[in-house]
Amino acid sequence: MLSYIRKRLLMTIPTFFGVALLTFLMLRVMPGDVVEYKLRADGGALVSEETIQAEKRRLGLDKPLWAQFGDWAIGLATLDLGKSMWTDRPVVEEIGARIQLSLQVAVMAVVFGVAIAVPLGTLSALHRGTFIDQFIRVITITGIAMPPFWTGMLLLLSLLAVFQWLPPLSFTPIYKDPVANISQLMWPAMAIGYRLAALVTRVIRSSLLEVLNEDYIRTARAKGVYERVVIRRHALRNALLPAVTVVGVEFGLLVGGLVVTEQVFNLNGIGRLFVEAVARSDFMLIQGLVLTTAAFFIVVNLVVDVLYALLDPRIQLH
């Protein structure tokens, strides 16, 4: 087991390095220059070329590209992502202040989504072609068809219409006031969770349909196993395996993928920070954010692979 994890961990190193390099390269071809943008925005068009050069020197932007990457990479190794070019605060601090919220929304969304998807997917497959299946299909396709900001707006509109109430705008950590925290974050979690549930329901449906066609299901029936045991023990156990991967991937992408939802619900999370950073061409911050998101994805994927290996005896752990 340990050797499997070690092997899997080693495989992520080149991916991570590639991600870092790609992030860096993509952002350095950015046309907008943070220095000019910042200084000109502050002091109008009257800033002298010298001031700009001095500021560039201060930020290390006058060095050649490889040296800039070197600086950044060395920083990375010590978990120092540099400083935001806009606020001058360390990137790690900027991200740290926001990530808790995004992470919590992502976790809640996954829990909500999976809790809905497993029964819906199973029901849909077992009643394939019937009214139940068609109904669930409409629900799930709708879920995939709704852009997250639209789901969010609809949620807010219905809250307003039914309860004349809107969730609080300011974030309270869950350990301070769980009620306030959850009453704020459950709505974005539901908005994203619905979409996730739709995706996972479809995965479960098709994989369960496939499994139900397998010879070993017929074997189980020929043994006289109770039908509900056939479904639960023989079919679902196999059919849920692909869903594990899908949920893992979606969760891994979620933390960074909350961009739009946070906008709708006015949440001060990673996504919001990202939009701000892009709007200001603060590429130190963008770099840090993109890297954090990708790293999170890579780590989640690693965990999912290990989990999968534990659930499926066919995966060789050595």
Binding site: D215, R221, K223, G224, Y226, P313, R314
Partner: protein, 684 residues
């Protein structure tokens, strides 16, 4: 559940007389996108306690559907039993509620399926899967169920059962998995086991092990066995009674001996004659049943076999009933009386000696030479140090079980793979080193026919395009009109009508597709064709047609074949010489007669003995020696002679040194320490 299993209630008196299972007038229908398919029509059969009954038929004859009907495991979405009764121990299974039926399954009737690789649940341990029916039906606690599972695994010959309980299916070989399936079937002491093609997916030596085990257990435990198969050799060896099905109906039934020696239905007669057999001198041509089985969505009126029957008369326009035949059984034919008194269909025409097969065929020039070829796939040694030749115009049969490397050899010769070591010389060109440009001309002389007629043709191209493509690519046929003409003649050459050129592969039957594959190979006018299991996927009656076609083409065009197959009887029929592989190594190469009448390598001897022949009298008189154990892993092949762990003659030297592959008799090569170079056979 207050209901007791019926065999506890029934008195002994009617047990002796009443059949255990009686199927009466069974009709099964499937709703498909092509309309209603009547998969079984009016089937009746009786199975007595302890009896072994074989149901024989080709694909689509309704034999598996019958089995699933008895188990009531037909797909509920589109299958329906429309008529009939299935009486098991006096009760009609079709009247039982779902729950009662479930309780019966696995307790009184068990089933063993064809595919051991997919019939076990991959995420549950073997122990869990064996204990499941024991706990459900017998109510054993975990500890007792475990003990019973260990006992069962021991009974089906799995070593170290205690430890194996915790293993998962993927850790077992195909043969071992089928043993586990049998253990599951036996778990609750059923009175009937239905085995649907239980050994079709297994190698011939493993097949023999499994069948002997099933027969032995059913006799010892007095379990009735219904074996569904297309293999007549298996029927002859194991069955007491036989039901022959054709196109959803029973063609003939009776005692096995009578069916094999005095078949009364033209279909049975044709079936028996179209199979190449190991126990008879091969004739010049196989007798075949012409045509194709009918489409069951629109079956012909009258006798279903009539369109393919050589004895068809006007009366056959009406469906024949099953009539009793002497000395036992029934047959559904209008001309039974004539067949019985010998007016028609008395015997197959006497086997003629093969045309031009003189006593000792002269040694022709080598066309292909494989020289000490070795192929590794990562750490797996698929082929090790193999050498042989194929001579111009001859057929070299290449036999071996799965993992023997025979398919890899074929792919190496076609340069679909590159060997790790060694060279392959075709017609003077070393193809392992030839440039792409050089290969172009080699490819024109060397072609291939694949096993699976369903996947060897591009589904998005018409037959005409498939056959004509090489002509265009190599500019072999000038303009388009000339190409079309050539395609037509190629299609006619392989027995297809020219209109077929407009069709797509999925509109053709398996046999027709295989003909298209042959036509495509012929388009280049090759001198050599690799036939990779070219007839293995076909039904018996179609297989004979294709074998005859291949032989005719060889006689017309002087093409050499490398005929890769696992069916020893087919290889014997078609080959001039035969090569035997085991675990990546060549163990024996010799002329056909030498290898079948006087095999020298112990493995070849076991292989030939494992094949049952379609003759109950001979089969019952014979006690074959069975090869024990499983194939070793090619990841870690045994040192010395690769066969030594399973060889009864193995000595110290076999464990240490690899035997040399040498000519021990004229044109007879063997790799065995125990075979003396001249004149004596096995020393031990």
């Amino acid at each position: 559940m207050t209901y007791l299993a019926p065999h506890h209630r029934h008195g002994r008196v009617d047990e002796a007389t009443a059949p255990l299972l009686r199927v009466e007038n069974l009709h099964v229908e499937f709703q498909t996108s092509h309309g209603t398919v009547r998969a079984v029509e009016g089937l009746s059969l009786d199975v007595r306690r302890g009896e072994i009954m074989a149901v024989v038929g080709e694909s689509g004859s309704g034999k598996s559907v019958t089995a699933l009907s008895i188990m009531r495991l037909l797909p509920s979405r589109n299958a329906r039993i429309t008529k009939g009764r299935i009486l098991f121990q006096g009760r009609d299974l079709l009247d039982l509620g779902d729950e009662q039926m479930r309780d019966l399954r696995g307790r009184d009737i068990s089933m063993i399926f064809q595919e051991p690789m997919t019939s076990l649940n991959p995420v549950l341990s073997i122990g869990e899967q064996i204990m499941e029916p024991i706990r459900i039906h017998l109510g054993y606690d975990a500890q007792r169920a475990r003990a019973r599972a260990v006992e069962l695994l021991g009974m089906v010959g799995i070593p170290a059962p205690e430890e194996r309980l915790h293993r998962y299916p993927h850790e077992f070989s195909g043969g071992m998995r089928q043993r586990v399936m049998i253990a599951i079937g036996l778990a609750c002491n059923p009175s009937l086991i239905i085995a649907d093609e239980p050994t079709t997916a297994l190698d011939v030596t493993i097949q023999a092990q499994i069948l002997e085990l099933m027969k032995d257990l059913s006799r010892r435990l007095n379990i009735a066995l219904i074996v569904i198969t297309h293999n007549l050799g298996i029927v002859a060896r194991y069955a007491d009674n036989v039901v022959v099905m054709y196109a959803a109906k029973i063609a003939e039934r009776g005692a096995a001996e009578r069916i094999f020696h005095q078949p009364r239905h033209p279909y049975t007669m044709g079936l028996l004659r179209s199979v190449p057999r190991l126990d008879m001198a091969p004739g010049a041509r196989l007798e075949t049943i012409d045509g194709l089985p009918p489409n069951l969505a629109a079956p012909p009126a009258g006798c279903r076999f009539a369109p393919r029957c050589g004895y068809r008369i006007d009366a056959c326009a009406a469906a024949p009933a099953l009539v009793p035949v002497a000395p036992d059984g029934e047959a559904a034919c209008h001309r039974v009386a004539e067949i019985e008194n010998g007016t028609i269909g008395r015997a197959a025409p006497p086997a003629q000696p093969a045309a031009g097969s003189a006593a000792v065929p002269e040694r022709r020039a080598d066309l292909l030479e494989v020289r000490q070829v070795t192929k590794y796939f990562q750490a797996t040694r698929a082929v090790h140090n193999v050498s042989f030749t194929v001579r111009a115009g001859e057929t070299l049969g290449l036999v071996g079980e799965s993992g023997s490397g025979k398919t890899t050899i074929g792919r190496l010769i076609l340069r679909l793979l590159q060997p790790s070591y060694g060279s392959i010389v075709f017609d003077g060109t070393d193809i392992t080193a030839a440039s792409d440009y050089r290969m172009r001309s080699v490819r024109q002389k060397m072609q291939v026919i694949f096993q699976d007629p369903f996947s060897s043709l591009n589904p998005r191209m018409t037959i005409g395009d498939i056959v004509g493509e090489p002509l265009g690519y190599y500019g072999l046929a000038g303009n388009r009109a000339a190409r079309r003409e050539r395609v037509t003649s190629l299609l006619e050459n392989v027995g297809l009508r020219p209109e077929m050129a407009q069709r797509y592969p999925h509109q053709l039957s398996g046999g027709q597709r295989q003909r298209v594959g042959i036509a495509r190979a012929l388009a280049m006018e090759p001198r050599f064709i690799v036939c990779d299991e070219a007839v293995s996927a076909l039904d018996v009656s179609i297989q004979g047609q294709i074998i005859n076609l291949l032989e005719d083409l060889q006689n017309q065009h002087g093409i050499a074949y490398l005929f890769i197959a696992h069916d020893l009887a087919v290889v014997r029929h078609i080959s001039d010489r035969v090569a035997v592989m085991y675990l990546g190594e060549m163990v024996e190469v010799a002329g056909k007669e030498a290898i079948y009448s006087d095999p020298l390598h112990p493995y070849t001897q076991f292989l030939l003995e494992a094949v049952p022949v379609p003759d109950p009298v001979r089969e019952r008189a014979r006690q074959p020696r069975l090869l024990t154990g499983d194939l070793p892993s090619p990841l870690n092949p045994p040192a010395g002679c690769v066969f030594h762990p399973r060889c009864p003659h193995a000595a110290e030297e076999c464990r240490r040194t690899v035997p040399r592959f040498q000519e021990v008799r004229p044109d007879h090569f063997v790799a065995c320490h125990k075979v003396a170079p001249y004149p004596d056979a096995v020393r031990a």
